[in-house]
Every structure is written in structure tokens, then in C-alpha cells.
Assembly symmetry: C2
Homo-oligomer: 379 residues x 2
């Protein structure tokens, strides 16, 4: 990972802004800039230096991992040490989308010196560099490899929780560092809930089984969804599956550097509209992924309140409250971004279908990273 290049890009932005320093408190951003993978740290970036604070548990790890910043392990709290080090700065750039009001006030002794910098680092992170692309590719391939093996283990009567257990065991066995998010394994009518968690429901023939899961490798996330059927799929499932697949293929076909995210979203939605299923597609079309499972860009209509199919509980609000579409410039895909394309149809009481791949944006179109086939699997 080229931490020096990342820090240099950030410093250009810092210099342009005229701010004397930026306080980085969002841990994935700290990891992106320094390589530190622990759970407690603050990073302060000046135009000509950077300082990093963590606590005693991470003395050894910080020494090994952190690049491009002077490491301090204070005796007291790391917030107090950072607050002291930035005391003389008249203005301090902060990540206002992540930093709580209380912690901002404590770090800066009030908010007078605070200057929200928007999503500088998130914007950098949206375009993946080669090492990041390789890491995501590895995670995606690991997760896809496990999918095929899991399919061979499915039997009627197996509970959702057991399938989730086997899935997660296999991800671990294959070398996964951990899950990218709580796995979704939803059988029958449960698959109509885009956010279902594995429960006691057992696999029955001729019902949809929706799987949505991801693994972490070298800190980077994978994400994939497939919907399969134990035994022959009834006509309605076949029809809905075909529509969702066509929608997903249309979304992928629309992906290209320079294309508005809203155009990709509409490509998926238009197919479902023709099939009279658009009202059952209740979430956004996709999202970037990397060190976090949800990163910019969000693939959705401009100004749409639609959320991802899954959402990390307690995650920070990413969208502005009620900003009309006209006020914000259109968001366009850029070469090197890596995003999911995951339309779904959810019919209450019956079930749902979602198909999700990870794709990389190139000037010529989408490069599909997920190798798992997408024709309807009837087990």
C-alpha cells in the first residue's frame, strides 16, 4: 500500500484549503493513511508533518504498522494528548461526519476552532489504488469460492442459522480474517425482508433462499448476494429471478467511467418497471466498498433517500438531510472505483430475490470481479 502517495494527495488538499492541520479520527481513514489497523488512534496531519497517538495496547503494533507519522503512546488518554498537541492551532479541520459533537468539543475545547472538511479522505478512498484493488479482488474470490462449496451442503430442513454457521465456518477455513458484515441467510418469505437476519426458519423445497455475505481480507471487504432454490423453482420465482437478473445485467452494462450513478440506478429500475416490479425494489442499487463495507459512491437516484439493501447498525449518516437534487452536482463514476450492483425484488409474504456482484469501473465499462455464475441455481 502506497501510504506516502495517499498522504501527499491529502496534503495537497490541506494546503489548498488554507487550514493549518487536519485531525483524522475515523479509524478506516487512519488505516488508509498510515496502515494502522487497531481500534484506538488519532492522527493529526500538518502540511509538513504528521503525528499519531494510540494507547498502550498498541505500542508494538503501532511501531510495526504506522507509516508516515510520528507515533506517541501517551500515559494518559490519547484524546487529551492530541488536544494538547493541537492547542496552538487557530483553526482545525475535522471529520464532522464522524466526530461526535461531544468529542469535537473536548478535543478542541469548544467548536470555535473547528472547520468541517467534508469527505476529503472518503473521496480519495473511493478510487482504489492497485494494492487495494488486489486486496478486494482476493476477498471477493475467497467469498465466491466458498459459495460453490456451500451449495453442495444445502439440504431440506436445514435452519437459516445452520447455513449461516456453515458459511461463516467455510469463510474462516478459507483464510478470511472475519466477516465484512452480519451474513444474511433468508429462506422463503424471510427473503422478502432485505435486512433479514438468520433465524430458525428451515429450508423447504421450491422456495427462494437469499444469501448476502462478505469477508474481510487484509482489511478489505467483499460483498455478494445470490438467490437459489432447493428443487425446481416455481414459475413465479423463475419470472422474478429473470427480471432481477436482467435488471442487474442492465446495471452492470451501464457502468462506465464518467457515467452518473443515477443513470446506473435507473438502468436497473427501468427493467423492473417494465416487469411491473419496480415498486418492490426498495433500496439503492449499490455502493462502493473497501476498508468499509459501505463507502462512496452510492449508486442511487440523485437526492434519493433509498438506503443500501443492508446497513451497518449505528453507522454514521452519510447523506445530507433533505438536500434537493438540484443543489448538488451529479455524482459520476470514476475509473478505479469498485462498487456493488445489487438490485432486488421483495414481495411481502412471498419472498425476495437479490443478485449482487462487485464490479470495477473502467473507461470502457465494468470489470466484473465476482466470478460466481448468475443463472438460477436449482439444487
Amino acid at each position: 500500500m502506497d501510504y506516502a502517495a495517499r498522504m501527499q494527495t491529502l496534503r495537497h488538499r490541506l494546503r489548498d484549503s488554507g487550514l493549518p492541520l487536519l485531525l483524522v479520527t475515523h479509524l478506516p481513514n487512519i488505516r488508509y493513511l498510515t496502515g494502522f489497523s487497531g481500534s484506538a488512534a488519532i492522527l493529526a496531519v500538518w502540511p509538513d508533518k504528521a503525528r499519531f497517538w494510540s494507547d498502550g495496547r498498541y505500542r508494538e503494533q503501532a511501531r510495526i504498522e504506522v507509516r508516515g507519522a510520528r507515533v506517541t503512546i501517551p500515559r494518559g488518554s490519547i484524546d487529551a494528548a492530541a488536544a494538547e498537541a493541537i492547542r496552538s492551532a487557530r483553526r482545525v479541520g475535522i471529520e464532522s461526519g464522524y466526530l461526535s459533537l461531544q468529542r469535537a468539543e473536548q478535543l478542541l475545547g469548544g467548536l470555535r476552532r473547528a472547520r468541517a472538511v467534508g469527505n476529503w479522505i472518503e473521496a480519495q478512498r473511493a478510487v482504489k489504488d492497485p494494492a487495494e484493488t488486489a486486496a478486494i479482488r482476493s476477498a471477493v474470490e475467497l467469498a465466491s469460492g466458498v459459495f460453490g462449496r456451500l451449495m453442495r451442503q444445502l439440504r431440506p430442513g436445514m435452519a437459516e442459522t445452520e447455513i449461516a454457521g456453515r458459511l461463516e465456518f467455510a469463510l474462516r477455513q478459507a483464510g478470511g480474517e472475519g466477516l465484512a458484515f452480519d451474513s444474511i441467510v433468508a429462506a422463503g418469505p424471510n427473503s422478502a425482508l432485505p435486512h433479514a437476519h438468520p433465524g430458525k426458519r428451515r429450508l423447504k423445497p421450491h422456495e427462494p433462499l437469499l444469501l448476502d455475505y462478505g469477508v474481510r481480507l487484509a482489511g478489505y471487504c467483499s460483498d455478494m448476494s445470490r438467490t437459489v432454490c432447493l428443487g425446481k423453482a416455481p414459475p413465479r420465482l423463475r419470472e422474478i429471478y429473470a427480471a432481477v437478473l436482467e435488471s442487474q445485467l442492465a446495471g452492470i452494462a451501464a457502468v462506465r467511467a464518467g457515467v452518473e450513478v443515477a443513470v446506473v440506478d435507473e438502468a436497473c429500475r427501468a427493467v423492473l418497471r417494465r416487469a411491473r416490479l419496480a415498486k418492490y425494489f426498495v433500496h439503492s442499487t449499490g455502493h462502493g466498498l473497501g476498508l468499509e463495507i459501505h463507502e462512496p459512491p452510492r449508486i442511487a437516484a440523485a437526492g434519493s433517500p433509498r438506503r443500501p439493501a443492508r446497513q451497518k447498525p449505528g453507522g454514521p449518516a452519510r447523506r445530507r438531510a433533505a438536500a434537493p437534487a438540484a443543489e448538488t452536482p451529479p455524482v459520476c463514476l470514476e475509473t478505479g472505483q469498485i462498487v456493488t450492483i445489487e438490485p432486488g425484488v421483495y414481495i411481502p409474504g412471498w419472498g425476495g430475490v437479490r443478485i449482487e456482484d462487485v464490479v470495477r469501473v473502467t473507461p470502457r465499462g465494468a470489470e466484473i470481479l465476482t466470478p460466481t455464475p448468475k443463472s438460477l441455481i436449482e439444487l
Copy 2:
């Protein structure tokens, strides 16, 4: 769960404060007050009413789950809908420890009307009601049951990731809803890192194996740590184990309603000091648990910067930056609180030992909820 009683307690506090309303944005607090278990919601509590907003994915779930508040599923963003509903309030109580600066500004149109309310709901949540106690007890017993079965599966040469996989599979099989946190399985020298994640290291005889894991049941977390040895433990491991066990027993013996948390922490530390191991005990002694894996009270010395053995990445800062001990009144345990007691000793390059139980605070002392024995297991 007695949601009405919880809301009533909160309203007493709201009336005492003179604030016209409290905006609740921290999802575990929303779950605590209304029962809603989804990943996107806002709750506004007035002295005489409450309103709840979520998005289209949760229409059905909110209808089923939410108690004591009028549910709205707006067409636009839920933040915008909540912002509109509280527009006329001159002052608005907010959870400043969780709400990001950016979102606070968007919800309130600036910060002029914002009033930080401190940890009102966290303080309520620290004392568990009977239904919560039962839920935590069930989660703790499920996790303990799995421990014994896992012990019978351990073999030399097994990788940490495989052990974690088996453990997590068994937790799922036993009915767990999910993990309470990323499991720790650390063999040999890796056990010296209190925050170790399972990796490629394989089990070798005569080395410590540290396990720290938790499961979720009905939304409530369990948490337990044990350190075992494959084959006969060498004398140093036996000595350190005995010291940590004595420390843990001393901590539990110190637990009683009305006792300062610092006294419990010191009870653990004093034992390790006598064994000349205190400097290797680098984290706090314990923490409350419930809907979140780390909740108040923190069992630590007053003003101590020591963090829990594990820490949720990206979690909000709970402690004040650099508040000297003298300024804050001592924190005392209360009847009905449920906390972990988990001293540990970590010797770089050699390994570590941690022993952790969940206990309930009563007027007569600690009630130990974790049934798993604590004598050194040599497999």
C-alpha cells in the same frame, strides 16, 4: 420488555431538565426505548408523546416492533422528516456523545438549539430490568455451553482461524443470533496481544490458548474469556494463570452494590502487584454489557485512560478527555448492573492469560452468571 416503564423514567428526567424534547439517534437507545431492532431510525420524545421515523425497508418491522411512539415512514429521508417535526422547538436535547457534528447541524439547522443531555439513557440502561437480565443470562449460558464442546475438538496443529470457525459455527448451531464482537482466538505468543485476531498460527502443546468471545441473543450480548493449554502447562504458565485467577476472584469478591468501581479494579490489580505482574495488566478490569458489548459502568481506576481488553472499532469515545479524577464524583456499582470482570496478564513474546466472567451486582455481592469452571484446563 417493559418499554412503557423505560419511557416513563426518561420522561421524568426530561421534565426535570426543562427541555421540551429529546432527539434519540443512537440505535441501541432507540431499541431500549421502543423495541425497534432495525438499522435506521430516529426517535423524538416529548413529555406527552413520542414519534418514530424509519425508512421503507422497515415499514412492516416497525409496525410489529415499535411500542410507545407514533411511527412514520416518510417518502423522503428520515432525517429530513424528523428535522421538520422538531422545527418549532426552541431547544432540543441531543445525544452529543453519539450524534456527529454534521448530522446534528443538519437535524437542527445549526447548533444554536442543541442541548447535550449527557448519558441519560445509558445511565438507565446500566441497571438491567428483569427481562434484560434474563436475556443476558440466556446469552451467557449459550456461550458457556459451547465452550465445553469446543474444548473437546481442539487438536495440535489446528489454526486459530479454524478454531474461531468451529466456535462461531457452534454458537450459531446453538441458536445464537450473531456474534457480540469479533472473536479472539490467540495461540502462543499471540495471546500476549489483548486485541489479537485469529490468524494462521497453529495450536502447539504447552502454550497458552486465549479465547474471548460473545454471542447475541434477543439483542443482548454475552462475553467470556478463558485461557487453556494443550497438554501439560509449563510452570510459568501455571504461575501466571494462578495469579490471574486469584486476581479475578478478588475482583469478583469486591463487587457489591455501593462499592466504587475503582475499588474493584484495585482489588484485581493488588493481587497482580504482589505477584510482580501488575505492569502486564494493560487494560481496564471490566465493563457493563447489554444491548451493546461495552456499556457503562466501566470498571477502572478513577480517571484511568485504560481501555477495555477489546474495543469495538469505530465506537464512540465514551470517556471525557483528560478529566482529572478529582473533578468527577466516584462511580459506584448499583444493584442490577451486569458487568464483566476480566483481568489479564500479557507478556510480550511469551503469551497472555485472561479470565473473564459476567457477574450481576447485588446488595450482598456478585452473582456469577458464567457457569464455566475456571481451574486451568490442560487438554
